[in-house]
């Protein structure tokens, strides 16, 4: 009884959560006639895969994709490098002011983006970075509080004896970071990389504010532009949306184990 009820609820809810994805995919494959049919068509008779190429070539989406890839790849590398360095610094050294600084780092997570949005725009404008991809890449090279926290917690679980042994063998702090902690941190780095990738890939407000020139647009900005130009062309909008969703979904399936392990581990306790 309890089992049947549980399964019915789970299956119903899965359908509810999955429906928007499936509906978008189906919409992307329809003909114009099927799009406006009532009752709605759930299984297009003729799967129009060419909708994807038609949509893709109607705006310079290849350029937008290129920009997105540049931003995501360069900022992810920066995020992984900087956050892991800082996390190692906080986790493995005693120095004056360390604990207050770490509290300060945690406190910065409370600052709403809205407060920084305007002065950052002015700052990047002054640097001449507006209409370049730099504002979307450079800040990631200076670490992010949440990721530093996550990596630092991870390093804390690694026994100090490992560092000790390496030091006995003559390794310096950099070598201990590079040869020992970076490889050991791999699962946490996958997590940070995944979360950062998704934020950077999906980001709309940053590109919206910093990029005005179409040649610098990222993919989400390109889709928003397309939606503005062709409000009623829902088939093409759906097709580009499907393409936009694929990388985060693929990455999720790759990193799923790490995401679940992290959440279901002890990291949220307390």
């Amino acid at each position: 009884m309890r089992k049947t009820l549980g399964y019915s609820a789970l299956i119903f809810l899965t359908a509810l959560f999955a429906a928007p994805f499936l509906w978008t995919l189906i919409t992307a494959l329809k003909t114009e006639a099927e799009l406006y049919a009532y009752p709605p068509v759930f299984w297009p008779t003729d799967w129009k895969w060419e909708n994807f190429t038609n949509a893709w070539t109607s705006l310079p989406f290849t350029t937008f994709l290129k920009n997105s890839v540049i931003v995501v790849v360069l900022s992810t590398i920066g995020q992984l490098a900087s956050s892991s360095l800082v996390a190692y610094g906080f986790a493995r050294f005693q120095f004056r002011g360390r604990d207050p600084l770490f509290v300060l780092l945690l406190a910065t997570m409370m600052i709403p983006w809205d407060v920084k949005m305007i002065p950052l725009y002015m700052e990047f404008n002054w640097l001449g970075w507006i209409n370049t991809l730099k504002p979307l890449i450079v800040p990631a090279w200076f670490g992010e509080a949440f990721f530093i926290f996550l990596l630092r917690q991870y390093i804390m679980t690694i026994p100090m004896e490992i560092d000790e042994a390496a030091r006995m063998d003559g390794a310096n702090a950099w070598q201990i970071y590079w040869r020992i902690h970076l490889p050991l941190m791999a699962p946490a780095l996958v997590l940070v990389g995944t979360f950062h990738f998704m934020n950077a890939w999906n980001d709309y407000l940053g590109p919206l504010i910093y990029l005005n020139d179409q040649s610098t647009y990222t993919l989400p900005l390109g889709l928003a532009l397309f939606k503005g130009l062709h409000e009623v062309d829902y088939i093409s909008i759906a097709a580009i949306t499907v393409i936009l969703c694929l990388p985060p979904l693929a990455l999720f399936f790759y990193a799923q184990r790490y995401i679940m392990d992290n959440a279901l581990g002890s990291s949220v306790k307390g």
């Binding site: 309890r2 800082v86 004056r96 300060l104 407060v115 090279w141 989400p220």
Partner: protein, 312 residues
């Protein structure tokens, strides 16, 4: 958020750790903090004391932006109210639904991993893709939602074109990404010792009472965490509203964050927008602190209780 206790270490290492090395390691964050957080914050506060158009002359006006906002700007209050209304819908629903989903997953039926993935999946999509997905679902004539409602005999509203329903539509689209909170609750549920329920069952405590006296207290730290993070995200809601309704219809979804954004980047009144962003910061800070204080009455920390027992 609690920090893990520092591992106790012999004092001789203290001497070795001193010097410039640790500062080199944390220097990226220090520089980032100065240039991308502290600097902008100070600059933003200075801007908020000015009449600061994007082009043209700046003029120091003291706290005039703040007093204008509070006294002579009805849109400020309207936008604030819309944001509060949204938070009032989103925050409780987010917590309750995430909790219920977590409870369902915690039944540990076969195939749970698949269901867990299905519920979490939408939270990897956000921004423009999320909006384009929902815009078509909400279409009055061709939308999936109204088609499904028609089976229940309901003549669905014009979701995005109706003053009452537009904010509900934004809430539903936001709730689609509740996977993160759900995982937090699921983790909490799995950490509750089974013996507690065993003992309760043996003593004849009914299931509903077990939920109230065991599950909820044990989950209270996660409830607090989710409460604060969802209040913060509700106040910052901008992307979905900007793309789905652009504040309409008749400004019914003209959120506070959107008012700040448009004042800065469409009306080019940087000083006034900066002042409003500071007000938002203060509201979020005050709310978080209020919730933290209030939570002392209902959050149960296991470690704390054990310590109290030992002291007694």
């Amino acid at each position: 958020m609690a920090t893990a206790p520092a591992t106790p270490r012999p004092s001789r290492r203290k001497a070795r750790g001193a010097g410039i090395t640790p500062w080199l390691f944390i220097s990226p964050w220090i520089l980032g903090f100065l240039f991308f957080t502290l600097g902008p914050l100070i600059f933003s506060f200075v801007m908020s004391l000015h009449d600061w158009p994007v082009v043209g002359t700046r003029e120091f006006v003291g706290f005039e932006n703040y007093s204008t906002m509070l006294r002579d700007d009805p849109q400020f209050w309207k936008s604030l109210w819309i944001t509060v209304k949204f938070a009032g819908l989103f925050v409780p629903l987010n917590i309750v639904l995430s909790f219920l989903l977590a409870v369902l997953l915690n039944l540990n039926l076969k195939g749970t991993a698949i269901f867990r993935t299905a519920f979490y999946l939408p939270s990897v999509i956000s921004g423009v893709a999320l909006v384009t997905i929902w815009a078509w679902i909400y279409s009055k004539e061709y939308g999936l939602l109204n088609y499904l409602l028609s089976f229940a005999g309901i003549d669905g509203p014009n979701w995005l074109g109706d003053r009452t329903w537009a904010i509900v539509a934004i809430t539903i689209a936001s709730l689609w990404g509740l996977g993160g909170s759900m995982l937090i609750f699921l983790a909490g549920l799995q950490s509750i010792p089974k013996e507690l329920y065993e003992a309760a069952r043996v003593s004849g405590v009914p299931a509903w009472a077990q939920v109230i006296f065991i599950t909820l207290p044990m989950l209270s730290p996660m409830i607090l965490f989710t409460l604060i993070t969802s209040i913060i995200s509700a106040f910052q809601q901008l992307t979905i509203a900007l793309l789905l309704t652009d504040g309409g219809p008749v400004n019914s979804t003209y959120f506070f964050a959107m008012y700040i954004y448009k004042t800065a980047f469409r009306f080019h009144d940087m000083g006034y927008a900066a002042a409003m962003s500071w007000v938002m910061f203060l509201i979020i800070l005050a709310l978080s602190m209020l919730v933290m204080r209030w939570s002392a009455a209902w959050v149960y920390y296991e470690g704390q209780a054990r310590k109290d027992d030992a002291d007694a």
